[in-house]
Amino acid sequence: MTRAPDGKAAGFALLLVVAGSAWAQAAAPAADGALTALIRWAPLIGQGFVLNVLISVIAMAVGTLLGLFLGLGQVAPSRWVARPAVAATQFFRNAPWLVLLFYCIFILPFRITLFGTTVDVPNWLRATAGLTLPVMANVSEIVRGAVQSVPSGQWEGAASLALSRRKTLWLVILPQCLKRMLPPWMNLYAILLMSTPLASIVGVEEALTMTRNALGAERRSELLIPFYGALLVAFFCACWPIALATRRLEAYAARERTG
């Protein structure tokens, strides 16, 4: 049902930000303009952005793996498996991401001793663990929804072929789920990427921290709008294509269903 979003909208949004920074630049009495300052700091902020992407990729990979098993646990026939899995999913889905992040930053050890060697756990890795928890819970829900949306005839068919429950899941049900899970999974990745700046609150040196540092070094209030605006545009450029691809996939799936 969703109408394809036109490029005009995105263009308009970008135009607003560019006009805003141009205005700030015109209003600036300082030696160099906002754009020059932005270009000077771009490599440093870019480094921070790489960390954002790294955190999101690790959290997504680990969260997906854990969430897959948690989701299968939710649909397990045994009550002793299903109930705790449902409870864990609901708990981590309903807790604010920032609170989970704080939880992991404070509760996880900052140093681990394994077989006599002491390893420091960097801040960003603990933040990644904090973001993994809500990803896990959301993937768990995606998996549950997809498994339950497969027609029961598929289960019966697999049973008539004498497949065990495990084989039914891995060979019959999950392959059919993949297509249904892909759009919400991509949507979740975009949400995760947009949540990585939360790590700056707990002191991880990602793009938002770097932007704040750059602004602190410049000490010019007219740079605030262009710098934060540019950071918004950078995230927009990363997340917008994902949103577009998700919609296209959803539209494709809807067409396929209706035949």
Partner: protein
């Protein structure tokens, strides 16, 4: 009250579980204030974002093309950028160019404080999602219903307000529910711009009393309690407003 205080004081001495908010009057007062601030942030931004959603969905159907582009641009931009950066952009960026007024001591203070900016940022972020949600709800209302309203002599605005919107609202309640739960969770971001909400005061308390695990657990339980309360209320509402002839049962 004395009983509770002595009970939790004893719990701290015997078991080392230090819940200062239950026996220290100062901590209790500021934690209660933080809780109320979270509820206030959530309530105001929920109302504002729902209003934004209704207005935005109407603007997307407007015959004026620039208004449609503006709405589409707003939705696309706010849905695809991090809410925390949005909040920084509003509070530090736009806050730097808004006028200031002298306070009691003569220091310049911004006309729009951090609480107001937090509400603006939260409402705009959630509002962008609400526009899409209401749009899908409106599109799900059969065309014939709107035509029937026109046939009864209702104007475009009247048929939107009296016929289409009430139906669309019922159709999109589950999606709206989901987004509002997200919004309540997102109020924690106001922490970053110094709004004294529940997470912020908890941070102050655990800095003073060094009781991080206790406060973190309290926070998680309270947030999940708030969300559960909202979900429960919305589900009741959903059931009360259910359309006969739609969905199962």
């Amino acid at each position: 009250m004395d009983l509770i205080e002595s009970l939790f004081r004893g719990l701290n001495e015997s078991a080392g579980i230090n819940l200062t908010i239950l026996y220290d009057p100062f901590d209790r007062a500021r934690f209660w204030a933080g809780f109320l601030m979270t509820v206030y942030l959530a309530a105001t931004s929920v109302v504002a974002s729902v209003m934004l959603g209704v207005l935005g969905a109407a603007a997307q159907k407007s015959p004026v093309a620039p208004l449609r582009w503006l709405t589409d641009g707003y939705v696309a931009f706010f849905r695809n950028t991090p809410p925390l950066v949005q909040m920084y952009f509003f509070f530090f960026g736009l806050g730097s160019i808004t006028p200031t007024v002298p306070d009691d001591l003569g220091f310049p203070t911004p006309l729009i404080g951090n609480v107001a900016w937090a509400i603006v940022a939260l409402a705009l972020f959630a509002g962008a999602f609400n526009v899409e949600i209401f749009r899908s709800g409106i599109e799900a209302v059969p065309q014939g219903t709107a035509e029937a309203a026109t046939a009864l002599g209702l104007s475009r605005l009247q048929s939107y307000r009296l016929v289409v919107l009430p139906l669309a609202f019922r159709i999109c309640l589950p999606a709206l529910n989901n987004n509002l739960v997200n919004l309540v969770k997102t109020t924690t971001l106001a922490y970053a711009i110094g709004v004294p909400e529940m997470l912020y005061v908890s941070n102050q308390i655990w800095s003073d009393a060094l009781n991080v695990p206790e406060m973190m657990t309290t926070l998680l339980i309270l947030y999940i309690g708030l969300v559960t309360l909202l979900v429960w209320a919305m589900h009741r509402w959903e059931r009360a407003m259910r359309l006969p002839g739609f969905g199962e049962r």
